[in-house]
């Protein structure tokens, strides 16, 4: 196929204002509509996952009141993790933000294969339905943790949540995996092939670099999970024994399985699982870089270092999965190798953190809600990253493994950080997609309460973790040595309720602003990215008329002598300040 075949139509496709309701809102092939579908679906799932967290915390604060029985508690833990990781963060960042932003930020009319994009969303929806259905089957939903460690997850008699609920869990995750694979095929092809004239890889916004590396990770790690889930499903339904050794006694009866290896599941799962946590953080890193640069009115510091460190993190993420298994009985030498590769990841992560701080340094910072969440991201990422150094050291991890210390660690570095970037991105790009700005006062209340709630919830967990409070313990009151954890647990739960309550401000703000927010112009933040050069909201085909041509990177803020403090990517020659005093400020 020659290069001509991949060139996009020069003019926007004919608009169809009378497109039928179903074609426009349900089976749309417009990346913006698909992105919104993903966004709203995953936001709904975040509410379900959040409700699970509230249930858990209610139980943990007052463990003797019998809010949940042990089985229900483990099911709540499992579903909280599963829904938040697979059905909220992963899909929100790739399907939601990725879909909304990639074509707009690289100057493309749509994804490379819009139809596959639609199929991808409609493969995700059955996954959502399946996981929600699993609440209503005998025995309830899966209860083995989001990691579904075999053999518990492989033998239906193992526990209440290991029955039909676990089978549905596997099927639901398979749907998500396939949907994500379709998505990453599309994202990679789009970023490689459909960048507009002048948009070289070295001028891509960091959000797109993040989404691009994420898509590479998804493409290379999800297939391993797919294989592992397929084998696990066969173990459950067809009687194979990939993950079960011989002579297991389950529920008093000998299991018929033999010849498998439970560690195989752990290796396969974590070979996927570790890139997965970077799937959840690389796009946020990009989003935050863009937002910090825009609202500091300064170019991002160290663009190339940012790109290289994103790529380095992506590469290293395939070499560190063993650090989840230090206590699984690996050979100590292998453990030492994984320890080394894990510690090395701190280097690119630190480079990024320094670059964010240096971008803020001497900037003219505009404390918009989006910016507050972006700075909050840096804060929670550093807090979680530092505890990661402890956990990377195998001998320390032997002690801290499976305690609340690790719960604190990954909720800061991965969950909260990712959530902060999603919220920052929502406040930042909401005007572009819905035509109105979100309310800043409500947004700042949302930020303040969320920030306090996050630290109040997860910071104390470090301490009860160091005091050996196991992360899956149902009843702390049963153990005298944990008696001091009781009041801390109450404090943590109250903070978690505050955190949950704070999200109401976001929901109200979102819904209210959809209808009554102040109308946003095409470029309300005076930002440089290509997405701000089209009309708000962008039409089908993204640009009326020809596609824009790019002449510069997206970080030309406060160029000395320029007329405005921002120079959009489509500007060829920077308009100079006509007279003294005209510099700075937007038009």
């Amino acid at each position: 196929m020659d290069a001509v075949a991949v060139r996009q139509p020069e003019m926007a496709p004919e608009l169809h204002p009378r497109e039928s309701f179903i074609r426009h809102y349900i089976f749309s092939i417009d990346h913006k509509m698909i992105g919104k579908q993903y966004f709203l679906t995953t936001m709904f799932m975040a509410l379900v996952g959040g409700a699970m967290a509230m249930l858990m915390r209610t139980h943990l604060a007052w463990p003797d009141n019998g809010v949940l029985n042990p089985e229900q508690y483990l099911q709540a833990v499992t579903m909280h993790g599963t829904i938040m990781i697979f059905f909220f963060l992963t899909v929100m960042l790739t399907g939601g933000l990725g879909n909304l932003l990639i074509p707009l930020m690289i100057g493309a009319r749509d994804m490379a294969f819009p139809f596959l994009n639609m199929i991808s969303y409609w493969t995700f929806v059955p996954g959502v339905i399946t996981i929600l259905l699993s609440y209503f089957v005998p025995g309830g939903p899966a209860g083995n943790g989001w990691t579904a460690y075999a053999p518990l997850s492989a033998i239906p008699a193992a526990e209440g949540g290991a029955g039909l609920g676990q089978t549905l869990w596997i099927i639901a995750i398979l749907f998500v995996v396939i949907s994500s694979l379709f998505g990453s095929l599309n994202f990679l092809t789009t970023v490689l092939n459909l960048r507009t004239q002048g948009m070289s890889m070295g001028r891509l916004p960091l959000t797109i670099w993040g989404a691009f590396v994420t898509a590479v990770l998804a493409l290379l790690s999800f297939p391993v999970l797919m294989a592992a889930l397929g084998l696990l499903l066969l173990d459950r339904l067809a009687g194979t024994s990939f993950f079960e050794a011989a002579n297991l006694i389950v529920g008093g009866a000998a299991s018929p399985h033999q010849g498998g290896d439970a560690l195989l599941w752990q290796h396969l799962f974590w070979f996927f699982g570790h890139p997965e946590v970077y799937i959840l953080i690389l796009t946020p890193m990009g989003v935050v870089s863009d937002i910090i640069s825009t609202f500091s009115r300064k170019p991002i510091f160290g663009y190339k270092a940012m790109v290289l460190s994103l790529s380095a993190i992506g590469f290293l993420s395939f070499l560190v999965w063993g650090h989840h298994m230090f206590v699984s009985g690996m050979h100590p030498l292998l453990g030492a190798a994984f320890m080394g590769s894990t510690i090395i990841i701190a280097v690119p992560s630190a480079i990024k953190t320094f670059n964010w701080c240096t971008t803020l340094w001497h900037g003219r910072i505009h404390f918009t809600t989006a910016m507050l969440f972006a700075i909050g991201f840096v804060s929670v990422f550093v807090t979680g990253g530092l505890s990661g150094i402890f956990l990377a050291i195998a001998p320390v991890d032997l002690y801290l493994h499976d305690t609340y210390f690790i719960v604190a660690h990954f909720h800061f570095v991965m969950a909260s950080a990712s959530l902060f970037a999603i919220l920052a991105g929502t406040y930042y790009w909401f005007p572009k997609f819905f035509g109105r700005t979100m309310n800043e006062t409500l947004g700042k209340i949302h930020f303040a309460l969320t920030f306090l709630g996050i630290y109040g919830t997860f910071y104390p967990m470090h301490f009860i973790g160091i005091h050996s409070n196991d992360r899956r313990l149902y009843q702390t009151t049963a153990y005298p040595f944990l008696s001091h954890a009781g009041p801390v647990d109450v404090f943590v739960s109250l903070s978690a309720f505050l955190l949950g309550f704070a999200q109401l401000f976001f929901i109200v703000n979102f819904l209210w602003s959809l209808k009554y927010g102040p109308v946003a112009g095409d470029n309300p933040w005076h930002a440089n990215g290509l997405e701000w050069t089209t009309t708000t909201p962008p039409p089908h085909g993204n640009w009326e008329g020809a596609l824009p041509t790019v002449y510069r990177w997206p970080y030309d803020y406060s160029v000395p002598g320029a007329q405005n403090d921002y120079v959009p990517q489509t500007v060829q020659a920077i308009p100079l300040a006509a007279a003294a005093g005209a510099a700075g400020g937007g038009t």
Binding site: V6, L185, T189, N193, L231, T240, S241, F242, L268, W553
Partner: protein, 207 residues
């Protein structure tokens, strides 16, 4: 002054990465197929890693030379590898504009695919009649039979799926709906199915 911040180093408009074109001069279909094959290769790797983990962790492993008809498997392998040649020839003929020849070569490729699948089915039948099931077999550890069935089965699905794909392509070539580029993408897939077999074959039968 105008040059400030424009990153002149990146102003190499002639660069193939500068946007407005595909850096590899391939359309999205071909690029996407390459990416899909990378991910599918990793799915197979996951399964083969599973096989080797279980096999190396198992005290014994049945002696394949006594159980399997190695000669039959050799024939299967030869057929599959030769089918890559007819596939390539078909792409070549399409490019030359000889659609009739192309369709004949495609037919040969599809027949080879079905022959491979049929021989695989013979192999399975022979296994099952000898008493092998997913979780048991008369020759030793159960892992031997479930890894065999799952991995060759997954590959067999790829072969049969590929035959359907090629069938559709043959139809499109005959009607003039597809050109050499589209057929080449199908050829990539078919080559991959071959290549994967080259890894499965030693893992299951030879080593």
């Amino acid at each position: 002054m105008a040059a400030v911040g424009t990153h002149e180093a990146e102003q190499t408009a002639a660069s193939r990465w500068a946007g407005g074109r595909s850096p590899f001069d391939v359309g999205w279909g071909k690029l996407m197929m390459w990416l899909f094959l990378m991910s599918d290769a990793i799915t197979f790797s996951g399964m083969l890693v599973g096989l080797w983990t279980l096999r190396l962790g198992s005290p014994t492993w049945p002696d394949r030379a006594h159980i399997m008809n190695i000669r039959l498997v050799g024939v299967m392998t030869a057929i599959l590898i030769c089918s890559s040649t007819t596939m390539a020839l078909s792409v070549y003929e399409t490019r030359r504009g000889a659609r009739r020849h192309a369709v004949w070569f495609l037919t040969a490729t599809i027949l080879a695919g079905f022959a491979f699948a049929a021989l695989q089915a013979t192999e399975w039948t022979h296994f099952i009649l000898d008493g092998a099931r997913l979780n048991t077999n008369p020759w030793g550890v159960p892992a031997f039979s479930f890894t065999f069935f799952i991995i060759t089965g997954y590959h067999g699905l790829h072969v049969v799926g590929g035959c359907v794909y090629l069938w559709a392509m043959a139809h499109r070539i005959a009607k003039g709906l597809s050109r050499a580029g589209g057929l080449e993408v199908a050829g990539l897939y078919w080559g991959f199915v071959d290549l994967v077999w080259v890894f499965i074959w030693p893992s299951i039968y030879l080593l």
